[in-house]
Amino acid sequence: MSKTKVTRRGVLKTGAVAGAGLAVPTIFDGSAWADGHAGFTNAPQGDTVTLGFNVPQTGPYADEGADELRAYELAVEHLNGGGDGGMMKTFSSQALKGTGILGKKVEYVTGDTQTKSDAARASAKSMIEKDGAVMITGGSSSGVAVAVQALCQEAGVIFMAGLTHSNDTTGKDRRRNGFRHFFNSYMSGAALAPILANNYGTDRKAYHLTADYNWGYTTEEAVRSSTEAMGWETVGQVLTPLTQTDFSSYITPVLQSDADVLVLNHYGGNMVNSLTNAVQFGLRDRVVNGKNFEIVVPLYSRLMAKGAGANVKGIFGSTNWHWSLTDEGSKAFVQSFGTKYGFPPSQAAHTCYVQTMLYADAVERAGSFNPCAVVEALEGFEFDGLGNGPTLYRAEDHQCFKDVLVVKGKENPTSEFDLLEIVEVTPAAQVTYAPDHPQFAGGQLGACNPGA
């Protein structure tokens, strides 16, 4: 008869091996997202809930990211009952009471996207897996937004997009777990075209310089189709590398063409440099085809306009929101943001604040953090009081439909923030399109994924 000797060390070894063996399937089958939770990914335990703010903290969009982060911190403060409540007072849905979300205190973690898709995915993944974030929001680039949105879909958490303007985010790359409040390229084109026709006429020859990436393509397509529909002719189209800093060799061929309008489908540093170069080469002083030469910047950002300085004066563009709006929601937001930080918020800050409020409100109305319940609460949700007039979160593509601002670089700014003036508030109906519009074709929301 043999005798088995049981030692303390042997038990520990066996236990460790067995434990590791049992853990393997959860590590490698993808259900690690739901590890330790029942029902859905990262169901909040205890009396707190964690949100993940994924913004560019380094790299060329770091200033925009910093403003987004300020807005998120303000939103958390308001949700937890601090400050003056901001837009919670003006939001048409009065589900939020300043007691956190569903009575749980809101906490947050931050990640750095670096405006790189892989870095953004890695930081989002870390916030979901390690920090237990139940919702991810942020981004200052469409490439990043599309990548993180897909990751959140797989992980089973909600993604509330920050600043992303490409049609694809709610077009061919739309996802059931992802939502966008910010406007898009199509809306820019649709809002701008009538203003351009009124100011510059319908007989114009346009030359496009376009940033060579996803957002540039969709913006050029949108502006081209809108302007061509009203009679403009597109005489030139050149893709410029995203890394380009000096645009002079792209600007000078415009002088040789018979174009009388230059459309700069550029954002960020690209926009600052291409616009500066275009003005240096005297394009704005030219007279072509008997008309004054004009420049158009489809997507404006106040932070970027600051970089271009006096060169933005008189140039038309579009923007999602501007601090000079006088509706109650905008005033409340500018007041609380301005009091806390000493300067007015950017459009990036606005959309990020609003997205956080919309998420919190949806959870309250749904009575659950379950992503599928949140999706249901947001789909087809109509609201007001958040700064853009009556707004619809369309169920078919998770895109917000609201008024779009056409702006112009201000001739006589009174301060460093006073760079753009609102020319027209284009009504939502004018920028609304069918869910299967060709510029948005090819995408499917799919089913919602709760993760677990």
């Binding site: 770091a62 002088l255 600052v272 005297g282």
Partner: protein
């Protein structure tokens, strides 16, 4: 024809910047044998000297204007620069407007000091280390300098315009008999080109016609022998490093009205400048200048619509393509000397 002339002109200012940076890189490599990846950061620091001088000249006192309100509805706080108080509003405004040319004087002592501290404080410890170590440490230094600038100045570009006397453009077209407005070139870019020419000529004259320059050239050719003659060549090489830093800094100062400076601008030029040095021939000063202008002009041509339509993407690879061809046919570069980087 007019399109070709225009692209040649376009290549000149870009070429000027490449040539100035590559000249500094070659000076450092030729004297100290160090591959300095922080050279682009020196260009960026020069640009931020201009920004800093502008900020200093614009230092203001706050006056509350009760007649206007700010974005929160409070009385507007108006900034009045001290310089307006001292010299009157008109002269004060002109001084601020001329901050970029004034920054040339401001940046020279700063860049020389930066170069001196960099060489004595860090780079001298890497003379006997492999080139890979030098590249790593100088690249690391470049990132540190970038992040310091970003911490103080933010990530967005900062507009630093040229004096209004230099805004607008020169119409070469009418001068050469073409239609007016077909070949125009901004005044400041012309200023940049001539400024680069003066700096390049100055550096060559300094090396060619002064005793100091003669000793440095002798040291570049045979460091050991010069040392044996009792000359402290290390001290002179340190001074050359500071001069090279100053050249890069001045290139950066004058570049600010062309493109609004940001913390990353040095990196954008660095890689291309290294290609310029290699194409020109490692250690050859005239080679660096020649290759700088050549590649600047080629890059301009490759961006022409007709060329891009014919060969899509050529604008992004042209410099590297030419570098490969030149290195295959002339492995030492255009004007490379025998024995440099060959042991």
């Amino acid at each position: 024809m007019d399109a070709i002339l225009l692209q040649i002109l376009n290549g000149l200012d870009k070429g000027s910047a490449y040539a100035l940076i590559a000249l500094g890189l070659t000076l450092i490599f030729g004297t100290l044998g160090v591959v300095n990846f922080a050279h682009g950061a020196l260009f960026m620091l020069g640009a931020f000297c201009a920004v800093t001088l502008n900020n200093i000249l614009s230092l203001s006192r706050t006056v509350v204007d009760e007649t206007q309100t700010d974005f929160l509805g409070n009385p507007l706080k108006v900034e009045v620069p001290y310089i307006h108080d001292w010299f009157g509003p008109e002269i004060g405004a002109s001084i601020i407007e001329w901050s970029v040319p004034l920054a040339i004087i401001f940046s020279i002592p700063i860049m020389i000091a930066v170069g001196f501290i960099m060489e004595r404080g860090l780079i001298k410890h890497f003379y006997k280390r492999p080139h890979a170590d030098q590249i790593l440490v100088t690249f690391g230094l470049a990132i540190v300098l970038q992040e310091i600038i970003k911490y103080f100045y933010g990530a967005n570009p900062i507009p630093t315009p040229a004096p209004s006397a230099f805004t607008g453009s020169f119409d070469f077209g009418t001068m050469l008999g073409f239609d007016p407005g077909t070949i125009i070139y901004p005044y400041w870019r012309l200023v940049y080109f001539f400024f680069a020419m003066i700096i390049i000529a100055g550096v060559f004259a300094f090396l060619q016609f002064t005793t100091f320059g003669m000793v440095v050239r002798a040291g570049m050719a045979d460091r050991e022998t010069v040392g044996l003659l009792g000359i402290n060549i290390d001290k002179r090489f340190t001074i050359m490093f500071a001069i090279a830093a100053c050249v890069a800094g001045l290139a950066g100062v004058m570049y600010t009205p062309i493109n609004s400076p940001n913390y990353h601008m040095g990196m954008d030029f660095l890689v291309l400048s290294f290609v310029v040095v290699v194409v020109g021939g490692m250690g050859s000063l005239p080679g660096a200048v020649l290759a700088g202008f050549l590649l600047g002009i080629l890059e301009s041509f490759a961006s022409m619509r007709q060329v891009v339509d014919l060969l899509p993407g050529i604008n992004q690879i042209i410099i590297y393509l030419v570098a490969i061809i030149i290195l295959l046919t002339r492995p030492r570069g255009l004007m490379g000397r025998k024995g440099v980087m060959e042991d």
